[in-house]
């Protein structure tokens, strides 16, 4: 297995720079997730690591070897595509063995390696089928199997679960985590889904506008976001942002960040500065929790509070107060950086 090192990686399309200087170290055997909104450059960076896009500037090292100009098939990398990219005219076995066939591996060895990968993914019974005869989840496993068979140094996943339904996504997440434990492989996983990022990644890299906003473990990013963007990106419902001033401080306009699960209904007599009043605008009953949305004067977006299921709530339109523990609040300066 191998490490991945990126030093000042840049990508330009004409005058438009879409990747703006990325420095990142991924250790051998780590499961790293690239997460960010659409168009932030995470897939482009993944494709540059794979060799499917040229690197405009900077250095990519795979296992300590500079690899900017190395052919994709010689980088020791296997990729699982969002669309799976299974060759429609080949059987599952042929799809999985295609790379080995190109590498002139002996037929017996191809059969053995395909069989072993199929056993890991429990798709032995599908080997003679064509992709069109498979379900979405089965195609996903075949795509992963095609990658495993090559015994790569690094696995790349480009939003592999985005075409699956919610139940299958959850199930496949568990299987991917198991696969990582079993193979002890270096894996780089791109997603726009923060739930996938939080559940799968040992480390998460948050991208925005072609730059890295923050790198850390899931809990580090969730509990100590470096800026407004990271704070608002992770968490569902997202963190509430309220305009604030720090009394006795010349800081200027600040932003107060409050996670929905840290808010509770207050009786209006809470500590000064740790409660806010508004009108109850919307209630969502999710079964295990209840989400209450409060319209606060001067705040554009409704403030979301995650309450325990069964919490008694007044009628919509009633005045309510939400309180919080000041130790759980976040403050961001005028530039959006965490204070």
């Amino acid at each position: 297995m191998a490490s991945v090192r990126l030093r000042d990686i840049r990508k330009r399309y004409g005058d438009n720079e879409v990747i703006k200087g990325i420095d990142l170290d991924i250790e051998d055997g780590q499961f790293v997730v690239f997460v960010g909104p659409s168009g932030c450059g995470k897939s482009t960076l993944l494709r540059m690591i794979a060799g499917l896009e040229d690197i405009s500037a900077g250095t990519l090292e795979l296992g300590g070897v500079p690899s900017n100009t190395v052919e994709p098939s010689r980088r020791g990398i296997a990729m699982v595509f969002q669309s799976y990219a299974l060759y429609p005219h080949m059987t599952v076995a042929e799809n999985m063995g295609f790379a080995l066939k190109l590498a002139k591996v002996a037929k017996d060895e191809i059969r053995e390696r395909v069989g072993r990968a199929a056993a890991i993914l429990q798709i032995e019974h599908l080997l003679e089928r064509k992709p069109k005869a498979l379900s979405g989840g089965q195609r996903q496993r075949v795509a992963i199997g095609r990658a495993i068979v090559r015994k790569p140094e690094v696995f790349l996943f480009d939003e592999p679960l985005s075409n699956l339904d919610a139940a299958l996504r959850a199930q496949t997440r568990v299987e991917l985590a198991r696969l990582h434990r079993e193979l002890q492989a270096t894996m780089i996983y791109v997603t726009h889904d923060q739930v996938e990022a939080m559940t799968l990644g040992q480390r998460i890299v948050v991208f925005n506008g072609g730059r890295i906003e923050q790198v850390g473990t899931p809990l580090e990013l969730y509990e100590r976001p470096a800026n407004l963007f990271v704070a608002g990106f992770l968490g569902s419902p997202r963190m509430n942002f309220l305009p604030a001033d720090l009394v006795g401080s010349p800081q200027g306009a600040l932003t107060l960040g409050l996670r929905p699960e840290h808010l509770a209904l207050a009786d209006g007599a809470g500590a000064a500065g740790s409660s806010v009043e508004g009108t109850l605008g919307l209630v969502e009953y999710l079964g295990d929790v209840t989400l209450a949305y409060v319209q606060v004067e001067g705040v554009e977006q409704m403030v979301a509070a995650k309450l325990a299921a069964g919490t008694p709530l007044p009628a919509l339109g009633a005045r309510v107060a939400l309180g919080w523990d000041p130790a759980r609040a976040y403050l961001f300066d005028a530039a959006g950086a965490a204070m």
Partner: protein, 276 residues
């Protein structure tokens, strides 16, 4: 009321279809009828749709004349060579225009498509001079080479390749396939029906091509069927039965080929019509 008018329209449509069928098949049936009657009967003043006396004499004499089989072989060889060469060149060109990125790609594609604007007749003289200078008059190469450039086939393939998701090419690249291998192992199998359709259309066009072989071939041995039929006429004088027999024998192979492969042709054109 609507049921009756529907039956009425069905009857009208059926009658029109039968009429068109008769109009289309009448010349073929007449050719067959002529080929199956004695030579004298073909110039009889009395008109008969069917032969008064049936005979295979015309077919026997045509086949026995010795040249028809040679012309059939030439047609088959030339048509097959043109088809294979056209498919190979067009597929590679279309793949390059569709999937590869290189400086001037769009300009080169535009120039290739300019071939649409040039009628083949305008190229006859320069092509003949070129073939003559290369010593290719009365050779298979001389007949085949000018026919292998087909802008329309390149265009159809390029449009088809453009619609194939790039993920397949990228996955194959990650697997270690070069451009030619990607074309052979991935794009060609995916494009199976349209390739068959273009191949059959190209084969038929090459088989039926009269003009270029007429220009570049002067030797009886190197003639193709369309050219050879004119020789048949000259050689036998006004021998309609043998002329029709030769024409039917010459058209039979390609008609059989189309009958065998027509499903693939239809599927190919349907697949192409569904593309942007």
């Amino acid at each position: 009321m609507s049921g009756r008018s529907s039956i009425g329209w069905t009857l009208v449509a059926g009658a029109c279809a039968i009429l068109l069928l008769l109009l289309w098949t009448a010349p073929l049936l007449w050719a067959l009828s002529t080929a199956l009657r004695p030579e004298l009967e073909t110039v009889s003043r009395q008109f008969h749709w069917l032969p008064q006396s049936w005979t295979l004499e015309a077919f026997a004499k045509t086949l026995g004349a010795g040249k028809l089989l040679r012309w059939l072989f030439n047609s088959f060889f030339v048509a097959l060579a043109v088809t294979l060469a056209t498919m190979a060149i067009s597929l590679m060109a279309a793949y390059a225009f569709s999937q590869l990125r290189f400086r001037g790609r769009n300009i080169v594609f535009g120039v290739a498509m300019l071939g649409f604007l040039l009628p083949f007749e305008a190229l006859l003289v320069p092509l003949f001079r070129t073939m003559n200078q290369l010593g290719m008059i009365n050779t298979y190469a001389g007949i085949v080479l000018p026919q292998v450039v087909a802008p329309v086939v390149i265009y159809v393939f390029k449009q088809f390749f453009d619609a194939i998701p790039a993920d397949f090419r990228e996955a194959a690249t990650m697997d270690g396939a070069g451009p030619l291998r990607v074309l052979w192992s991935v794009y060609l199998p995916i494009s199976g029906n349209i390739v068959w359709a273009m191949a059959i259309v190209t084969f038929i066009a090459a088989w039926n091509n009269f003009l270029w072989p007429f220009i570049v071939v002067t030797s009886n041995e190197m003639m193709t069927i369309p050219l050879g039929l004119t020789q048949t006429y000259d050689a036998f004088g006004v021998r309609y039965a043998q002329l029709m027999a030769a024409a039917l024998l010459g058209a039979l192979p390609v008609a059989l080929a189309y009958a065998v492969f027509q499903r693939r042709v239809t599927q190919g054109f349907l697949a192409a019509s569904g593309l942007k």
